[in-house]
Symmetry: C2
Subunit: 198 residues, 2 copies
């Protein structure tokens, strides 16, 4: 499925299990602009697919309506650029189902890399810095890779614990690091897949 000129990087936007403000495990609602912004960034930088992960049937249906509008409906005629981007979206009920689908496409289970602003700098096990993951993505024999993004207050601890790797958080200037998942995904894709001459 994947030609040899593009890195074998997949994205998953997780809506369950994620944390709420009180660090309780919840299923979050799908945000329309997440689908647009992250699929446009995925298309710009050459990710293979964007999985929207939610076990809730009504949220899956909402996603399908949005994607269908822009890939087959009126939106596809109005703005074909959105068709190109939202065409990368796949909907799955669980991370397990995502991994199985990628394995079916690629022949190998993807290595998972969890992202999050609260990933502790002190945790050295499983930690990947941006240059290391960028290097792995250029090695055709190392993939496929699957980046996990959390909605709401971030990925739940069991997802973090089960991930093969944890990506170092995006550090700004100072202690404030409350980027939206849309902004974080854009920066991460630029750092991992952006051109060398930027």
């Amino acid at each position: 499925m994947n030609d040899s000129s593009t890195p074998s990087l997949y994205l998953a936007l997780i809506h369950h299990p994620v944390l709420n403000k009180h660090l309780e495990t919840i299923a979050s609602a799908v945000t329309n602009l997440d689908l647009h912004d992250i699929s446009r960034a995925a298309r710009t930088f050459g990710a293979q697919a964007l999985y929207i992960v939610t076990p809730l049937q009504d949220q899956q249906d909402l996603c399908r309506r949005i994607v269908d509008h822009w890939t087959n409906g009126w939106g596809a005629t109005f703005n074909s650029d959105r068709k190109d981007a939202l065409g990368l979206i796949r909907i799955q009920a669980s991370l397990k189902a995502v991994k199985k689908e990628i394995e079916g496409r690629e022949g190998t289970t993807p290595k998972t890399v969890a992202t999050g602003a609260r990933i502790d700098a002190a945790v050295k096990t499983k930690r990947l810095c941006f240059p290391d993951l960028r290097r792995h993505l250029r090695d055709r024999d190392s993939g496929p890779w699957l980046l996990l993004f959390g909605t709401a207050w971030g990925l739940s601890p069991p997802v973090m614990a089960a991930a093969d790797h944890l990506l170092e958080p995006i550090a700004g200037n100072g202690n404030y690091n409350h980027l939206s998942v849309r902004s974080a995904a854009a920066i991460i894709l630029d750092r991992l897949l952006g051109r060398d001459d930027k």
Copy 2:
């Protein structure tokens, strides 16, 4: 107003004059998530302020209600991180008024840098690449700087023509470069103000 440890970079999100899909000049509507995402990225990377520029009174009122909710209202108590970010937002009717306000704060008119995906690679005059602007921002004697972001289909040609500089577009892998303004602003701030060791 500006201490010496942070770069003197201001952002302006322009809602008029911008282009629509047919490249006609319009005033666009304010998008709630633009205010959140771009102010959070501005706060993360240390920009001085985010100006929302619209001549439409009802759109200015809408902005004020959103900002007030998160900086003084219920939202400020619910999530103080948003207060820190949305507190960077200023509302102005025109780019001219923005420049005047910055001049009042800094004592010097800001140098304007227009951004946009369609900035022609062939145009060498006024063009700035990311490393050059990053260097300028570290030179305390060169500022203040004002980055201009367009909503809808981008900044109108007169705004581009009047800008002191044009920032090179964000290039991805391939010809697709249709990032949202939220994603583009995040990547641009990371490239200009992000830490050296990223």
